[in-house]
């Protein structure tokens, strides 16, 4: 937990002012003939956060908020349009060649959402897990390779004999274990997990979440965990960043975020999760907040959330709020919020629903 972190704990990963724009312009001919303008989707528009060694930092938000783009920028699947990503003090943009990148890449691995798409159906599980070992030259002999693969399979609670099978012989949960074994093969310190349980059934999801927690303890792993499911995020995270339309709107410790949500969007998210407790009749008749996520090509000026926000005023419509420490810092434990209403203290106290 966070209290165990001392001030000298360094950040393993620092993301500063990360931007990633996607070009969605009409074809050149239409731009010339019909005078159409170039268009950009600002998938990430200035995202900054730091992940401490050994913690689980989660990003949560609705589809299109940019959480997966963050993950892809960090592991190098996308090149950032602007901003800096530093892993263990090294700026990733400085590493120009694959060769220079390799030692750092080994230390960060990724687990994807869909275990059906992320495993090559024509490879035996043994070869899938062995690939990073071979690529990074981590084993010298064939017998050593075989032993290491067996060890990895055991670590994800599969049997070494499963290495001879093909991915289609496994269920979704078992496939996700194989993905985890492959990610662990290179002995990474940092795992980027993009919706790792979203394609799984609940009872299997519990198995994978437990396994990830066990592995984190065993190997001292640091996680960036991405999900749209707040209950999963609650279960696994130490700290959480809430994203809306390419920006972070709130960053806080898990307990803080759920007990005292600051940003109106965080409150909306917390209020809309379907809860088991609603079966008592208590939550069955709440009227949900109206509105939808706006078009990312043409986001609203000022605070992107203002069209749906019950507390929006003139300033919210024109001036973009920065991510700042929440004013009542003694109670927040360093929560960061991007909201004028919070900064000005004109937001009523959150009506925290009773839970548990």
């Amino acid at each position: 937990m966070l209290s165990s972190f001392t001030s000298e704990t360094t950040a393993l990963l620092e993301v500063d002012g990360l931007k990633r724009y996607f070009d969605v312009s009409p074809p050149v001919i239409e731009r010339v003939l019909q005078r159409k303008e170039r268009a950009w989707v600002k998938a990430l528009d200035g995202v900054s956060f730091a992940i401490r060694r050994g913690e689980t930092f989660s990003l949560v938000g609705e589809s299109g908020c940019g959480k997966s783009t963050v993950a892809r920028c960090i592991v190098g699947l996308y090149r950032p349009s602007a901003g800096r990503i530093a892993f263990d003090g090294t700026d990733l943009a400085q590493l120009k060649t694959r060769r220079a990148m390799a030692p750092l890449r080994r230390r960060m691995q990724m687990i994807f959402q869909d275990p059906y798409a992320s495993l090559d159906p024509r490879w035996r599980v043994r070869s899938i897990i062995a690939e990073p070992l071979v690529t990074y030259g981590l084993v010298a002999r064939k017998t050593e390779l075989r032993e290491r693969v067996a060890e990895l399979l055991r670590q994800v609670r599969l049997s070494p004999a499963d290495g001879d099978k093909y991915p289609h012989e496994f269920s979704g949960g078992q496939r996700q274990r194989i993905s985890i074994a492959r990610a662990l093969a290179a002995k990474p310190e940092f795992l980027v997990c993009d919706e790792p349980t979203s394609a799984l059934d609940v009872s299997v999801q519990a198995q994978i979440l437990n396994l990830m927690k066990d592995l984190q303890r065993e190997f001292g792993l640091t996680y960036l965990f991405i999900s749209h499911n707040l209950a999963v995020i609650y279960q696994i995270s130490d700290r959480i960043g809430v994203m809306y339309l390419g920006r972070l709107v709130e960053v806080a410790d898990t307990d803080q975020l759920f007990a005292r949500p600051r940003h109106p969007y965080t409150r909306l998210l917390l209020e809309t999760i379907p809860r088991l407790e609603a079966a008592d009749g208590a939550g069955q008749d709440r009227e949900p907040v109206a509105g939808e996520v706006p078009d990312p090509i043409d986001p609203p000026p000022g605070c992107a959330f203002h069209p749906r926000c019950p507390f929006a005023n003139e300033r919210c419509r024109s001036e973009r709020p920065e991510l700042l420490p929440a004013p009542d810092i003694s109670q927040t434990g360093g929560a960061l919020v991007a909201c004028h209403a919070v900064a000005e203290g004109r937001l009523p106290a959150p009506n925290t629903p009773k839970r548990g």
């Binding site: 979704g172 979440l209 379907p274 088991l276």
Partner: protein, 344 residues
């Protein structure tokens, strides 16, 4: 609850013939839905919940076929109706909502054309009256500027708005029952809450019953009156949603409830059910859940349990058979419940 249920599904059996023999995808499933009632059907992927829904609306894709049992709707058997007769029932008396609104809407027609066609197929209305009804339906499902939006194509709507259009389509002919298969799964949480609230309000206003098929127990808890939990093509437990959440009886239901992460209830580890649901060709004899069951005993491996009364619900589990003296005395069932409570 009314004496005569709106829908009765009796001993439904759905088979898939394959080269290596016939697989049973839905096996001896029975339940009923009262007029105006919301029945949730929950289960893992492959549990047979969507197939049961598809069988009711007569849209089982061959080679899947109903191999036994019957479906009685409003006192009339509908599982053996010829295609054309079933077409008149579907849409008029039973509406359907699917997971992905894009696949239920034709991209080449405006939503107005699709709504009006549906209305005129099932109701005896002229063009102008049908258009008026379409506009009324669209505004009822919360689409602003309904008269203009009628002439828009599906791609001009957002995901949440499209699902509203699909709901309008399903309710166009005032059906008595709507089969909704994962209606909110493709949507974001804040939109999901809007759609659930809408569906509930509309069905309450119109007195429409809903069969809500989903894997999300939270959605069921918010919406349903009763819930059926399916496992490996069979109903494991069925009962009022409140009893099911507070005090599940089947070990599978109990494990399922415990494995759902809950906000405000931080545990170092979630309780997990080891293993996975068996594939259709590997369903064990006796109770399908027996290899994963923490409470398993001799009889479970031998004999398949039917639904039997458990306190507040009905569970297909030998723990609740009156005659099971060999293992579960009532005393240790009560003990187990108490342990679960302290865990919560």
């Amino acid at each position: 609850m009314a004496a005569e249920p709106l829908l009765r599904v009796e001993h439904l059996r759905i088979e898939v013939p394959t080269r290596r023999g016939t697989l049973v995808a839905v096996d001896d499933v029975s339940f009923s839905i009262a007029p105006g009632e919301v029945l949730g059907v929950v289960g893992e992927s492959g549990a047979g919940k969507s197939l049961t829904g598809a069988a009711i609306i007569g849209l089982l894709e061959p080679p899947l076929r109903i191999a036994g049992g019957q479906i009685v709707f409003g006192g009339r058997r509908i599982d053996n109706l010829p295609y054309e007769a079933m077409r008149r029932v579907r849409g008029k008396e039973i509406g359907a909502i699917f997971q992905d609104p894009l696949t239920s809407l034709n991209p080449l027609y405006t939503i107005g054309q699709q709504l009006i066609e549906t209305i005129r197929t099932h109701l005896d209305l002229g063009m102008i009256a049908a258009r008026e009804r379409a506009i009324a339906l669209l505004s009822e499902v919360g689409i602003a500027g309904a008269a203009q939006r009628l002439d828009h194509y599906p791609h001009q709507f957002s995901g949440g708005m499209r699902q509203r259009v699909v709901i309008a389509l399903a309710l166009a002919a005032n059906p008595l029952l709507v089969v909704a298969d994962e209606p909110t799964t493709a949507l974001d949480v804040s939109i999901q809450a809007q759609i659930i609230a809408l569906l509930k309000r509309l069905c309450r206003d119109h007195g429409t019953a809903i069969m809500l098929v989903t894997h999300d127990m939270g959605v069921i808890a918010e919406t349903a009156d009763r819930v059926a939990v399916m496992y490996a093509g069979r109903i494991a437990e069925i009962g009022p949603v409140r009893a099911m959440v507070a005090e599940p009886h089947h070990p599978y239901t109990a494990g399922l409830m415990q494995s759902i992460p809950r906000i405000g209830l931080r545990r170092e580890r979630l309780q997990q059910i080891d293993g996975a649901m068996p594939r259709l060709n590997e369903i064990p004899p006796g109770c399908a859940f027996n290899p994963r069951c923490p409470e398993v005993f001799e009889r479970c491996r031998r004999e398949r349990p039917g639904l039997m009364p458990a306190p507040g619900t009905e569970a297909a589990c030998w723990l609740y058979a009156a005659a099971t003296a060999d293992r579960a005395s009532p005393a240790n069932i009560v003990d187990r419940r108490r342990d679960d409570k302290t865990l919560c």
